[in-house]
Amino acid sequence: MTLQHYLVISAILFTLGVFAVLTRRNAISILMGIELILNSCNLNFAAFSRFMTPAQDINGQIIAIFGIVLAAAEAAVFLAIILAIYREFGTIQPDQTDTLKG
């Protein structure tokens, strides 16, 4: 298992996340895509920390843990926004909430 393996997996996760965000018509699915992107980042932090710095230096791992916490908080805010959008528009599909359309 080398750094490259981790980076490849991380890139695959990131790509899948972006694909989900851009293509899914359900806001929950988009949230799940965003979680994938965040987790690919966390994976990168952990991988770079493991292979690029001395063993006792665990800064990358700590940042990954912070990232997970932030993702949880972000998910809570995102879900709250989705709830508000649902109350306002009666749907959670982003392409139908186009009030800002010029």
Partner: protein, 736 residues
């Protein structure tokens, strides 16, 4: 003691007026305003007496700063010398007596309280004028008395003639006041002060001028005298005074005989030190001409008040002549004596009018009657009444042709008026008028002889003639009014002696017509001791006067010592120091007695014994008679020339205004509207609006295109962000 007493004298009448004014604000009148005003005047009169011991030989002005703007410092204050004391006495005494007289005369008038309030205001103004130590204060008092004169002449403003007369008086005196103001400003520009006395005053400055170019000083003196010409009714601005007789008779007595018209004489006397030989001669000529012109007009009047009015003008001319001839003391002496006997004559005539007014069941309604009479005569100048002569619009009770024989009906009025007439006519030794008039005549002759001046000889002859005419017309008045048979039986039967409040002032004034009272001693010349003439720094005898001894001087036996003294000190000082001893005095006294006796004798022959017929004399001297009857056509001249020119000029200006000024305005308006406004409107519409619209158009169209990218679909935005990130990575990949 001086300041508190003067303050009381000023504040009493002012308070009486303020009392009326404040009550009026609440819409009410206190019906006994007469008592308030009269009491105020009596207090002022008593204070004037108390001031007599305060006269000092070297009075100082008492003043406080008033306005200070940069370099201009104005002050207000009192100046109390012997002249002020005399004027205070004259004003307060005459005013008090007129107040008392008016209680009877004005009784029952609908505006009775207002009359007394105006009298109080007048008294305050006149007293303020008299005590002021500076020209500005004098000017303020001067204009205030003018206002009061206007209010009181027009007191019966229902009468058109009264309304016209008060306007005429106000406007005519204003003509002179303009000159006075210019003269004041000349002095102010030169000396930067209005104060007259003290080290920084005008008189001190004038005395230090040196004997350089003093033409401007002559001009300033004559200009200030212009104010006196208006106020004291001197020729040519005298025409308002006879018309002013439309006012109530007490007003005529107080304002238009005794006090206000004397303000001009007072002013001229106050300005005595700035007079130059030229301005003195101008004043003397104006005074002399006034004296003779007014006296000749008075001969032919039938209205008793008009006779007295012209007599007043004539006597004021005398005073001016006296001051112009350097006889400062004589001028003021005549002012004092004249104030008393002329007030007496006017109040006496008021008493006669009051007695004769036919329709007055109750006293004091005569003005209603006068106005009825006036209305009746209005528009019918050829109206002939029962007596068979043209009334010329004279109210019947003022027309001497209706009178006659009244001495039995009205003994007090007759006796008091006779005393005043003897006084004004110059009947010697016993009566005050003789002494003061003689002093003026002597003063004029004295200067004529000392200066050997033809001008003053001419003026002396004029004054002498006027003195004779005065005696003539005054006795004509007495004979027509009080002697002979009653000419109008109805009026005669109605006549009665006036009530006590009117008779008592007459008696007091009659007592005041004796020189003992006037001069506070048995020696008539002691007036000299109380009133000292100030020095005139710029008046000197002409050079030739002291060299060639005048013929008359020699004839009169002037001593060599006297002539030598003249040569040494200048005639001016000598003339004053030796006034009473001058040979001029003897000559003037003898001549004035002769002309007065001649006048009285002629009057007796004409109007009492009917030896000569007045009508016959009038027809033989028709042109002269017409000239006097027409009052020298001053009014016609003013109406025909000055008023007509003013009206024509106003008409021209009106047309000019309508055509030219309005035309220009309309043209400018048209040009603005049609050309400028049209162009700017077009420019505004096309260019300014076009620019604004163009900017809006571009913004609109660009915005319309750009807004398409705002899809509102969040995933589109994310795609664009992703594309942007990829693009940035591609661009900046070499730095990675």
């Amino acid at each position: 003691m001086v300041v508190p007493l003067i303050s009381i004298i000023l504040l009493c009448p002012l308070a009486a007026f303020a009392f009326f004014g404040l009550l009026s604000l609440t819409g009410r009148n206190y019906s006994r305003q007469d008592l308030v005003s009269t009491a105020a005047m009596l207090i002022a009169a008593i204070c004037s007496f108390l001031l007599l011991p305060q006269i000092t030989s070297h009075p100082e002005p008492i003043s406080i700063p008033w306005i200070e703007i940069d370099q201009i410092k104005l002050s207000m204050g009192f100046y109390f010398d012997s002249v002020t004391a005399v004027m205070l006495l004259v004003v307060t005494i005459v005013s008090s007596l007129v107040h008392i007289f008016s209680i009877g005369y004005m009784h029952g008038d609908p505006r009775y309280p207002r009359f007394f309030a105006f009298l109080s205001l007048f008294s305050f103004s006149m007293l303020f004028l008299v005590v002021s130590d500076n020209l500005l204060g004098i000017y303020i008092g001067w204009e205030l008395v003018g206002l009061c004169s206007y209010l009181l002449i027009g007191f019966w403003f229902e009468k058109d003639s009264a309304a016209d007369a008060c306007k005429k008086a106000f406007l005519t005196t204003r003509v002179g006041d303009v000159g006075m103001f210019v003269g004041m400003m000349m002095l102010f520009t030169k000396f930067h002060t209005f104060a007259l006395y003290g080290d920084g005053g005008i008189f001190a400055a004038v005395a230090n001028l040196g004997s350089g170019d003093i033409v401007w000083l002559s001009i300033a003196g004559v200009l200030i005298f212009c104010g006196a010409i208006g106020k004291s009714a001197q020729v040519p601005l005298h025409t308002w005074l006879p018309d002013a007789m439309e006012g109530p008779t007490p007003v005529s007595a107080l304002i238009h005989a005794a006090t206000m018209v004397a303000a001009g004489v007072y002013l001229t006397a106050r300005m005595f030190p700035i007079l130059t030989p030229d301005s003195s001669l101008t004043i003397a000529y104006v005074g002399g001409i006034t004296a003779i012109v007014a006296a000749t007009i008075a001969i032919v009047r039938f209205d008793i008040k008009r006779v007295l009015a012209y007599s007043t003008i004539s006597q004021l001319g005398y005073m001016m002549l006296g001051i112009g001839a350097g006889s400062y003391v004589a001028g003021l002496f005549h002012l004092t004596t004249h104030a008393f006997f002329k007030a007496l004559l006017f109040l006496g005539s008021g008493s006669v009018i009051h007695a004769l007014a036919v329709h007055n069941g109750s006293h004091g309604d005569e003005h209603d009657h006068e106005s009825e009479h006036h209305d009746a005569d209005h528009g019918d100048t050829e109206h002939h009444d029962d007596a068979g002569f043209d009334s010329h619009g004279i109210p019947a009770e003022q027309d001497m042709r209706h009178m006659g024989g009244l001495r039995k009906k009205m003994p007090i009025t007759f006796l008091t008026m006779l005393i005043a007439t003897l006084s004004i006519s110059g009947v010697p030794f016993v009566f005050s008028g003789f002494w003061s008039k003689d002093a003026i005549l002597a003063g004029v002759l004295d200067r004529a002889m000392a200066w050997d001046s033809v001008h003053y000889y001419i003026l002396f002859i004029i004054a002498l003639g006027a003195a004779g005419i005065t005696a003539f017309y005054m006795f004509r008045l007495i004979f027509m009014t009080f002697f002979g048979k009653p000419r109008n039986r109805e009026m005669y039967d109605h006549a009665h002696e006036s009530p006590g409040s009117m008779a008592i002032p007459l008696i007091i004034l009659a007592v005041l017509s004796f020189p003992i009272v006037n001069t506070w001693s048995f020696n008539p010349w002691s007036f000299d001791k109380h009133v000292k003439a100030p020095k005139q720094p710029h008046v000197h005898a002409p050079a030739h006067a002291s060299e060639e001894r005048p013929v008359l001087y020699a004839l009169a036996g002037a001593s060599n010592a006297h002539a030598a003294e003249d040569a040494g000190h200048g005639a001016h000082d000598a003339a004053h120091d030796h006034h009473a001893h001058s040979p001029a005095h003897t000559i003037a006294m003898v001549l004035s007695i002769i002309v007065a006796s001649f006048g009285i004798l002629l009057s007796y022959l004409f109007y009492h014994r009917k030896v000569f017929s007045a009508e016959g004399a009038a027809s033989r001297l028709r042109p002269l008679y017409n000239l006097c009857w027409g009052k020298y056509y001053f009014d016609e001249f003013y109406n025909g020339v000055i008023v007509a020119l003013s009206v024509a000029w106003a008409g021209f200006l009106r047309v000019f205004d309508l055509r030219v000024i309005d035309g220009i305005v309309n043209l400018v308006g048209f040009i603005t509207r049609a050309v400028v406004a049209a162009f700017t409107g077009w420019f505004d519409n096309k260019f300014v609006d076009g620019l604004v619209n163009w900017v809006a158009q571009i913004t609109w169209s660009v915005g319309g295109r750009i807004r398409r990218i705002q899809t509102g679909a969040i995933q589109n935005y994310l795609l664009i962000v992703l594309g942007g990130v990829v693009l940035l990575i591609l661009i900046f990949r070499r730095y990675l």
